[in-house]
């Protein structure tokens, strides 16, 4: 087994374990912290797949921004575990649907694995900032600009949603 195989196995097992802990942990804070582990393992896999820029972005945006935002909200609202009284029928139905999705994906991959491409050789600068930037700012320029509008809309939407009603631009718009 080469180094790549060992790393892949380690990161894959880590990602699956932490993902399972995310969806089974009773407390939201535990879920959020395990999600950091999943993101970290996925960033490692991105490095293995010659995407160093995306690995860095994954860590900065997910671990650095999104998870911190989630933790901030959890702690601000003082969220604790809630009573998850899910009826047995619903629980089985949920597991069944998730299992069915998984089974369908598995079958599609296993049956299609004969036509999957072999790993080709790639240039040295594959996935580096410069190469991605060239594509992003030429072919996908309009999509990139649309993304900025999307983020602006999300920001305005978030502010409008949490603004307290009845106070016109109050000082304590918390």
């Amino acid at each position: 087994m080469g180094l790549e195989t060992i790393l892949f196995l380690l990161l894959a097992v880590g990602a699956v374990l932490t993902a399972l802990l995310v969806v089974t942990s009773p407390s939201p804070i535990g879920s959020a912290l395990y999600l950091v582990g999943t993101m970290f393992c996925l960033a490692g896999l991105y490095v293995l797949l010659a995407a160093p820029f995306l690995a860095a972005i994954q860590m900065i945006v997910y671990a650095g921004a999104i998870i911190v935002l989630l933790l901030f909200v959890i702690m601000l609202l003082n969220l604790r575990r809630i009573d998850e009284v899910l009826s047995k029928g619903w629980r089985i139905a949920g597991l069944f649907v998730a299992g069915l999705t998984l089974f369908a994906l598995f079958m599609a991959i296993v049956r299609g694995s004969s036509v999957l491409p072999e790993m080709p050789s790639i240039p040295d600068d594959f996935g580096k900032v410069k190469e991605l930037g060239k594509i992003l700012f030429s072919k996908y320029l309009y999509a990139f600009e649309a993304t900025s509008v999307l983020l602006l809309a999300a920001m305005i939407g978030a502010v409008a949603l949490v603004r307290k009603e009845g106070k016109e631009g109050g000082k304590d718009a918390s």
Partner: protein
């Protein structure tokens, strides 16, 4: 054993299934939000794996856009969550049945 594309795709499928399980079986709104993040990430992994095996960097650019959409989704989702918390004082999705009809 050589790591192949199918292994990455299977790993992504497993992560997607776990995320779907979380969305379908949990009742805590914030945990559901995190499970959705998990599903988005598994799709990102698929994109990156295919980018490597097709030697095409455009798939990595798509991942970039998915990240932006995920960030926007989390911001709006958390804002909705906070206003739900203010109005209902609970995070349980069972309490949110106003649109049930």
């Amino acid at each position: 054993m050589q790591v192949e594309l199918a292994h990455y795709l299977l790993l992504a499928a497993v992560l997607f299934g776990i995320g779907a399980m979380g969305v379908l079986t949990r009742k805590n709104l914030i945990t559901i939000l995190m499970s959705v993040e998990l599903m988005l990430n598994s799709v990102n992994l698929t994109f990156v794996a295919l980018a490597r095996h097709a030697a095409d960097q455009e798939a990595q650019v798509v991942v970039f856009f998915v990240l932006c959409v995920a960030a926007a989704e989390v911001a709006v989702g958390l804002a909705i969550l906070i206003s739900v918390w203010r109005k209902r004082g609970t995070m349980n999705v069972d309490a949110l049945s106003a649109l049930k009809g």
